[in-house]
């Protein structure tokens, strides 16, 4: 039976705020993503110049070499505003929690072959520092980028990176005999030659001044090679086939997160490059530069798990990356 519930109907005076209506049309209801994102950041009549950067306004598009007629051309295909973002992550952390429970409850960590466990600790644990670097880089864009459409996904990304660093830490505490595994991993990060290329890469990103270049170096190039290589290829395929499936369960968050986040990254690259020939050229220069550096930095890390195959597998990942960028309109 159809129930005919009634409420008093009043004709609204307007569907949404004027700055939203100017973009989507006055006759349309706006989504929460639109109302929470479009033009939220101030753009005019700033009162004072930053004492920490007197050459720029508080928010200043000229901090980037990328020029946009409209910075709200950037869109997050996930339509993440805070509420949608936390709901999505809460669901993922629930899965992660039950995966950790599953592995811990059944003592699966102890069933891992010793060699494999050793490999995981060596490969995965120093990456918590790389994720922390990712957190800082994303925080930089949140702070100094232009337009909420670009900066909002970056605060989410920043906190995701912190979450990932914390999940890696938990894997370490679960697999390792005690907390010293974290110190050992940090020592590797600081001193082992295998990790120095990556650490240098991350530290070099810390001193970049252009928010879009940081975006390319971190979200496009480094995440774009590291996640497919380490999580999708090494952990989910190579190690799983050697009895390492529990590890794949413990890092499912990272795999799922990357599959989701890259959609936003691709959309952002595409929008920036499609804006003008100059932007396209600038994106190509940056992406080529940082891709090559990231690939070189990741090679010795891949070797920890892949040995002699590292070379071939890494170049496969780079090929896939190039194809992905081509789809986003950037030919490398």
């Amino acid at each position: 039976m159809q129930m005919d519930l009634r409420t008093v109907t009043i004709k609204p005076q307007r569907q949404t705020f004027d700055h939203i209506a100017r973009r989507i049309g006055a006759d349309k209801a706006a989504t929460r993503y639109q109302e929470g994102t479009l033009e939220v950041q101030a753009t005019h009549n700033f009162h004072y110049r930053p004492t920490w950067d007197p050459d720029h306004e508080i928010f200043d598009a000229s901090r980037s070499a990328i020029k946009m007629a409209d910075w709200y051309a950037f869109k997050d295909p996930r339509q993440f505003y805070y509420g949608a973002y936390t709901l999505a992550r809460a669901k993922q952390q629930e899965t992660a929690e039950s995966n950790f429970d599953f592995v811990e409850g059944r003592g699966l960590a102890d069933t891992l072959p010793a060699e494999l466990k050793e490999t995981v600790l060596k490969l995965l644990l120093p990456l918590r520092h790389a994720a922390w670097g990712g957190n800082m880089n994303a925080a930089f864009i949140t702070a100094y980028g232009y337009g909420t459409a670009l900066t909002q996904p970056c605060i989410f990304h920043s906190m995701d990176m912190l979450g990932i660093a914390q999940y890696i830490t938990r894997v370490g505490l679960l697999l390792g005999d005690d907390v010293e595994v974290l110190d050992t991993a940090k020592q590797s990060w600081m001193e082992d030659s295998a990790w120095q290329g990556l650490r240098r890469y991350v530290e070099d990103c810390f001193v970049l001044k252009d928010p879009l270049e940081v975006f390319v170096a971190q979200m496009v190039a480094l995440d774009g090679l590291l996640y497919p290589l380490v999580y999708e290829t090494i952990i989910d395929n190579v190690l799983s086939s050697k009895g390492g499936t529990p590890i794949a369960m413990l890092t499912q968050f990272m795999t799922d997160w990357y599959a989701e986040t890259r959609k936003w990254v691709d959309a952002t690259v595409k929008t920036a490059a499609a804006e003008s020939a100059e932007n396209k050229a600038q994106m190509e220069t940056w992406i080529t530069h940082w891709r090559d550096r990231a690939a070189a930095a990741l090679m010795p890390i891949a070797q920890i798990a892949l040995g002699a195959e590292a070379d071939a597998i890494t170049s496969e990942v780079v090929d896939q990356f190039n194809a992905r960028m081509a789809k986003a309109g950037v030919s490398l």
Partner: protein
């Protein structure tokens, strides 16, 4: 079965340390000074970031879980409120003007807080401090958005909400809250933390949030009340962060004390000036009052703040400057502010009115030292004049204070009949101030405050007309041209509440909801 001896269980504190502190490192390929370039120029000395005490211990997985639960509940209520025309349940349509003030003046500040905490969350070399700042940055975008989403429903039915983003950067009175926050984010990371984290979030936040949220609860506004309550547990975290910053900085080096003290003096005064708008809201705009501004100041500042500053005395911190003046002002500022808005209601995006007799009596009772003597006769006079058809809208522009940007409406301490003027000559120009506090803040950083985008100056310089407008054309109406530049819908957003479209619509719609059609 051969059981492995269990691993040592980690305590909560130790575990959290591994989840945060352990993540950072001393950079070597790039110098720490280049990686954290803004951390020294304010003169604050930090010797050991490891001494930072985490004000709360929340890993990201727990954060996502708790916050998602809160969001689920909040949006369910917002949806239900919109669906049931919850706006028709507010006490009286005058109340809507209080939330116009909120959306226009406060919500954009939440967004600025989001960006500001992202800046400190990037710039502090200590991992513990950075994580706490970033979490607050994330919370602040939540607050901006939940407010926009809650109040979006009001915008669909009532005037004065529709251009809050555009107006923030242009409308004369909105430069008060905006310049406050611009001031904070253009300062260095430590000053920002003292300004917003400590002075605003810790010392003054109750004076902002309690009146609006309780005001909403008292006046039947479930939507606003719900986001307020939902934000409360975030605010509790923010307050502990604000306090930890002060303690940490003061414990690190004795040289930090005078710098921090000057910031506390400055930001308490700056914050107090912004709160004038809240005081006015409490005393005049809530149909059902919670408490008077004066009472709120006594409870939340004099009592609670007094205890706080007693606690901080062991670090050498004394209570903020100019409290003696504030003590005298509390009988006056809300009345002086409402009188100003009543005067300038033509240039305003909310409505004004003369309080009803009951409300005048309430004010007389709450302000026995000042209201009957100075303010009630004036309001009654204006009411009489309006009745005779002489409602006067002031169309000349007031002089603004160079620091707080409020029109020069405040009176001399000790003499409520004399407007307080201060001035400073700086580089061949004369600058004007509403008080000793604002003057001293200017003198400490004149190069900063001479940059202020003062709405009145900008209008006189011709910077506040739409493109193509010719001020030399015959019959040019400057006020009307400025209101166009504001995107203010003349005759709908502005003027008196009496006779306004909001008043008429609310009455008609409430009739539809409570009565049967004839």
């Amino acid at each position: 079965m051969d059981m492995k001896v269990g691993k040592k269980k980690l305590g909560l504190k130790e575990k959290y340390q591994h989840m945060t502190r352990g993540l950072g490192w001393e950079t070597t390929y790039q110098s720490m000074d280049d990686v954290f370039p803004f951390v020294k120029y304010e003169g604050i000395k930090i010797h050991d970031w490891d001494k930072w005490e985490d004000p709360f211990r929340l890993t990201m997985d727990a954060y996502w879980k708790y916050q998602a639960e809160k969001e689920r509940k909040l949006y369910a209520i917002i949806d239900a409120y919109a669906q049931n025309n919850g706006h028709l349940n507010v006490t009286d349509a005058r109340y809507l003007n209080a939330i116009k003030l909120f959306l226009n003046g406060i919500s954009p500040l939440e967004y600025m807080a989001h960006r500001g905490f992202a800046m400190t969350g990037r710039q502090f070399p200590g991992v513990g401090a950075r994580v706490a700042c970033l979490m607050q940055s994330l919370d602040e975008i939540r607050h901006a958005q939940t407010q926009i989403h809650s109040l979006s429903n009001y915008n669909k039915y009532y005037n004065g909400f529709h251009e809050y983003r555009h107006m923030l950067e242009r409308v004369w009175y909105l430069s008060v809250p905006r310049s406050f926050f611009d001031d904070a984010v253009t300062a260095g990371p430590f000053e920002f933390m003292v300004a917003i984290g400590f002075s605003f979030e810790y010392v003054l936040t109750n004076l902002l949030f309690v009146p609006f949220v309780s005001g909403a609860a008292y006046n039947g506004d479930m939507g606003t009340m719900t986001f307020g309550f939902s934000a409360q547990s975030d605010e509790a975290r923010h307050m502990t962060l604000g306090l930890e910053v002060i303690k940490f900085v003061l414990e690190q080096d004795p040289d930090n004390l005078p710098i921090v003290q000057q910031w506390i003096d400055k930001w308490t005064w700056r914050g107090y000036r912004v709160l004038t708008l809240v005081g006015m809201m409490m005393d005049y705009m809530l149909p059902k009052r919670i408490m008077s501004w004066k009472e709120a100041w006594e409870v939340y500042f004099e009592e609670n703040g007094g205890a706080l500053f007693k606690d901080l005395a062991r670090y050498g911190i004394r209570p903020p400057k100019w409290l003696d003046q504030i003590e005298q002002d509390k009988d006056h500022i809300s009345h002086q502010a409402w009188a100003t808005f009543y005067n300038y209601a033509a240039a305003c995006n909310f409505h004004t009115w003369i309080p009803t007799d009951d409300e005048l009596d309430w004010l007389s009772q709450k302000y026995p030292n000042s209201f009957d003597k100075y303010y009630r006769p004036r309001l009654e006079h204006w009411r009489e004049e309006a009745k005779k058809g002489n409602r006067f809208y002031n169309k000349t522009l007031p002089m603004l204070c160079q620091t707080c940007q409020i029109p020069m409406i405040f009176t001399e301490p000790g003499d409520p009949t004399q407007i307080c003027y201060r001035e400073v000559d700086y580089k061949d120009n004369k600058y004007h101030f509403c008080s000793d506090g604002c003057k001293e803040i200017f003198e400490h950083e004149p190069e900063k405050y001479i940059q202020a985008w003062l709405p009145v100056h900008q209008i006189y310089q011709g910077n506040c007309f739409e493109e193509g407008v010719d001020p030399t054309a015959e019959g040019f109406d400057p006020l009307s041209a400025v209101l166009d530049y504001y995107h203010l819908a003349q005759g709908r957003d502005n003027l008196d509440f009496e006779g306004s479209e909001d008043q008429k619509n609310f009455e008609a719609w409430r009739g539809m909801a409570t009565k049967n059609a004839a």
